[in-house]
């Protein structure tokens, strides 16, 4: 019905307002927005989840142009509480378009999922680790295609990403940001080596 290409918008560490806080955002969306707007909401939801990916899995996410004219829509009282989201400390997923600069929250674009990665800046991110999380997000969205667009599905995706971030932390690929505003080590206290299965302990006598 609509176009079947599935692209990702990701940007890392842009210098913006809000006290210079780093905000990583990703948006999985279909390119053909015009056609999307002509079908009703129900079809949009089905379509969004039935999107098939033509690009190979391991390819880094391709950048998608941002929409500078985007405005906050469907945020008024009569839509209050209606948006689909999964909000945990490091992963916020919204079924909407969120502009990275103006933070416009366009809820009419329900065919997009936007991921805000670690808004409280608890970890130190590099573009490489960010892209890993984005790729995993893409993989999960592909995995859950066909599932209804509901809070429960988003929660499953968000929780899997949180577990993935924990795995990255335990493997030593990301580390805690010691300059974070709240330093409470929400994924476990820092240790010297988290996953030390393949390393030898130095002070054990070996014969």
């Amino acid at each position: 019905m609509a176009s079947t290409s599935f692209s990702i918008l990701g940007w890392v560490g842009g210098k913006r307002g809000l006290g210079g806080r780093k905000m990583n955002s990703i948006s999985a969306q279909q390119t053909d927005v015009q056609q999307q707007s002509q079908v009703n909401i129900q079809q949009q939801e089905e379509e969004k989840e039935k999107v098939t990916v033509k690009q190979p899995q391991k390819q880094p996410p391709q950048t998608q142009p941002r929409q500078p004219m985007a405005k906050s829509k469907n945020m008024s009282v009569e839509y209050g509480g209606q948006w689909f989201s999964s909000v945990t400390r490091h992963v916020r997923i919204y079924a909407a378009y969120i502009d990275p600069v103006t933070h416009a929250f366009d809820q009419t674009q329900m065919d997009k999922l936007t991921l805000l990665l670690d808004p409280t800046n608890e970890f130190v991110w590099t573009s490489e680790t960010c892209n890993k999380v984005y790729a995993y997000f893409q993989e999960l969205v592909d995995h859950y295609e066909g599932a209804p667009l509901a809070e429960y599905t988003l929660r499953l995706i968000g929780s899997d990403i949180e577990h993935y971030i924990r795995k990255l932390l335990y493997d030593g690929e990301i580390k805690y940001n010691m300059n974070a505003r709240t330093l409470n080590f929400s994924m476990g206290k820092p240790r010297v080596i988290f996953n030390n299965n393949d390393r030898e302990v130095q002070d054990v006598q070996k014969d």
Binding site: V91, P148, R155, G158, S159, H163, S186, M187, K189
Partner: protein, 158 residues
């Protein structure tokens, strides 16, 4: 061992099964789901005007789902009101039980909670939807075969 209400029901040829008495000596009856609505009306007419409690539980793994009603007959000048406990067992495959909302209005939230936790579908309930869990939740949390999803919670924080 037959209680007063059981004898009264037998006299009127109403199908039920006596489950004995609980620790307070309250008579416990089992009633089939298809008879429950008519018998509930009869019990209301008999004088049970107060639904004290409604709850539900999963009887056994792979077994039946039970919906329990505690009824009381409130009258003036009575210190020991008549009480009865009704259990309605519904099969796990298609758990349907008539709602008593239109007889005892206090069954409203109780039956919604039973629906939310165990998935018993109460026929003729006016707004049968989840009350504790989010509306998009999948699964019935208090069933014995329920497996909780691996959600990341703040409790995971050490």
């Amino acid at each position: 061992m037959q209680g007063r209400l059981s004898a009264w029901l037998v006299k009127r040829r109403l199908v039920h099964r006596s489950l004995g008495f609980d620790y307070q000596g309250i008579e416990t009856l089992q009633i089939k789901p298809e008879d429950w609505h008519s018998i509930a009306v009869i019990l209301y007419v008999y004088g049970y005007n107060y639904l004290r409690s409604q709850c539900a539980y999963d009887v056994a793994p792979g077994g039946l789902l039970a919906s329990v009603y505690h009824l009381t007959r409130i009258q003036y000048g009575v210190d020991q009101p008549e009480e009865v406990c009704i259990k309605v067992f519904a099969p796990r495959r298609n758990p349907r039980t008539p709602s008593v909302f239109w007889i005892w209005k206090s069954a409203d939230f109780q039956e919604r909670e039973s629906y939310d936790m165990l998935g018993i579908s109460y026929d003729n309930h006016p707004r049968l939807k989840r009350i504790l869990m989010p509306e998009s939740w999948i699964g019935w949390p208090l069933r014995k075969d329920y497996i909780a999803p691996n959600f990341y919670e703040i409790q995971d924080a050490h």
